[in-house]
C-alpha cells in the first residue's frame, strides 16, 4: 500500500541506505585478518594425518614445534625417493638434527614457557613406526617429553551398534 500512497503523494520512498554496509564488511574483514595465520613453512613431505576420537586441543600454539614425517612431495621424489622422511622447519632432516632443532625451539621461548613446550608429531598414517620410534627416543634424549600425536577429528560413525 505504501507504494500506491507514495505515488499519489509527492514523497518518494527513500532508497535503502547502504552507507553502513562498509562498516559491516570491515568488521568481518577485521575478524578474518586477525584469525588468519599465514603458513610459515613450506611442506616438503606429504602428511595425511590419522583419525582419532580422544583428542585434545593444543592450547598454546606458539609453544609448539612441529616435526613432520612422511613421504616427500612429488617434486622431491626424484631426488629423495618415496620412503618416509623427517621434515624440520623447511628442509629434509635426519634424526641427528632433532637435537639442534629442539635446542633452537627452546632458545626462542621465554624461560617460563620452556617446560610447557610441546612437540607436535605430524606423521603420515602410512609411515612405519620404526622412524617414529627413533624420533621419540631422540626426543627423550633431548628431554622434550611433552608430545602430541597430531590427528584429525574422527567423524562419528553413522551406524550405531
Amino acid at each position: 500500500m505504501a507504494i500506491f500512497r507514495s505515488k499519489n503523494s509527492k514523497k518518494k520512498v527513500p532508497a535503502l541506505s547502504t552507507a553502513s554496509l562498509p562498516d559491516v564488511v570491515f568488521m568481518i574483514l577485521f575478524f578474518f585478518m586477525i584469525s588468519t595465520s599465514f603458513r610459515t613453512s613450506e611442506r616438503v613431505v606429504t602428511v595425511k594425518l590419522p583419525e582419532a576420537t580422544e583428542i585434545a586441543k593444543l592450547d598454546r600454539k606458539d609453544l609448539a614445534s612441529y616435526i613432520n614425517i612422511g613421504p616427500p612431495v612429488p617434486a622431491y621424489q626424484a631426488q629423495y625417493g618415496t620412503d618416509a622422511r623427517i621434515q624440520l622447519n623447511d628442509s629434509f632432516s635426519t634424526i641427528e638434527d632433532i637435537r639442534d632443532f629442539i635446542a633452537a625451539s627452546r632458545e626462542s621461548m621465554s624461560e617460563a614457557d620452556r617446560p610447557l613446550m610441546t612437540v607436535a608429531l605430524k606423521v603420515d598414517e602410512d609411515v612405519r613406526m620404526g622412524i617414529v620410534t627413533d624420533v621419540k627416543q631422540e626426543l627423550r634424549r633431548c628431554s622434550a617429553l611433552k608430545i602430541m600425536y597430531s590427528t584429525r577429528r574422527k567423524a562419528e560413525e553413522k551406524t550405531g551398534f
Binding site: L29, A120, E125, R140, S150
Partner: protein
C-alpha cells in the same frame, strides 16, 4: 534542493572492503591443532644400573601390535574394537578376580582412602607397525582410561570428568592414574643410520 558541497562518494568503499574480505576468507584456514597428548618417560640415566622393576604379572597387560598390524592384548589376539572393554575390565577389576590387577588402598588428599588399582598397560610395537594402527590402538587405550575416569567421576561427583573443578579432577586423576607405558620396541638398539 541545495546539497552540501564536498560529499565524497563512499559507495565503492564496500567493494574494496569486500575484495579484501574475500581475499582473507580464502587464505584463512580455521584449523585448530588437535591430537592425542602424551608424555614420554624420561630417559633412564646411563650410569644408573638398569633396575628391572619388579611388577607382578597380574598387574601388567601387554598390548602388542606386530609387523602386520595385528593386535595382541593380554596374550591373545583380538580386533581393535574389543580392546577398550578388555582394558576397562583390566583397569577396574570389578569382581576382584585373582588374575586381574590388585588394588591397594591409598590416601587421596581431600577424598579419603580409595582402592587404587595397580594396573599398568604396556603398549609395544615393532618397527614395521603402521602409524595408523598405532594411533588407533593408542586412541582406544586413552578412551578406556577416560571412560574409567568418567565412571569414577560420575559415581563420586555426579558429573563427567571434564566438567569437574580442578580439585576434583586431581582426585580423579589420583584414583585412576594414567598408567600407560610406551616401551621402546626391542629392536631399538639396532638403529638404522
Amino acid at each position: 534542493m541545495a546539497r552540501p558541497a564536498g560529499d565524497i562518494n563512499a559507495g565503492s568503499m564496500a567493494d574494496i572492503a569486500f575484495l579484501l574480505l574475500t581475499f582473507f576468507m580464502m587464505v584463512t584456514t580455521m584449523d585448530t591443532e588437535t591430537g592425542i597428548q602424551r608424555r614420554l618417560p624420561p630417559m633412564p640415566d646411563e650410569n644408573q644400573i638398569e633396575q628391572a622393576e619388579q611388577i607382578n604379572k597380574r598387574n601388567i597387560m601387554v598390548v602388542l601390535i606386530n609387523n602386520n598390524d595385528r593386535l595382541f592384548a593380554g596374550g591373545q589376539e583380538m580386533p581393535v574394537e574389543m580392546l577398550k572393554d578388555k582394558v576397562k575390565e583390566f583397569l577396574t577389576n570389578p569382581a576382584n578376580l585373582p588374575d586381574l590387577p590388585e588394588k591397594r588402598e591409598k590416601e587421596i588428599e581431600g577424598f579419603g582412602p580409595y582402592m587404587v588399582s595397580r594396573a599398568l598397560v604396556s603398549l609395544q610395537n615393532t618397527r614395521g607397525t603402521s602409524y595408523k594402527a598405532y594411533i588407533e590402538v593408542q586412541n582406544e587405550l586413552v578412551k578406556a582410561f577416560n571412560e574409567v575416569r568418567d565412571d569414577f567421576a560420575m559415581q563420586n561427583f555426579g558429573k563427567k570428568y571434564s566438567f569437574l573443578d580442578e580439585d576434583q579432577q586431581r582426585i580423579t586423576r589420583d584414583a585412576v592414574p594414567m598408567s600407560l607405558s610406551e616401551r621402546e620396541p626391542r629392536e631399538v638398539t639396532k638403529r638404522r643410520r
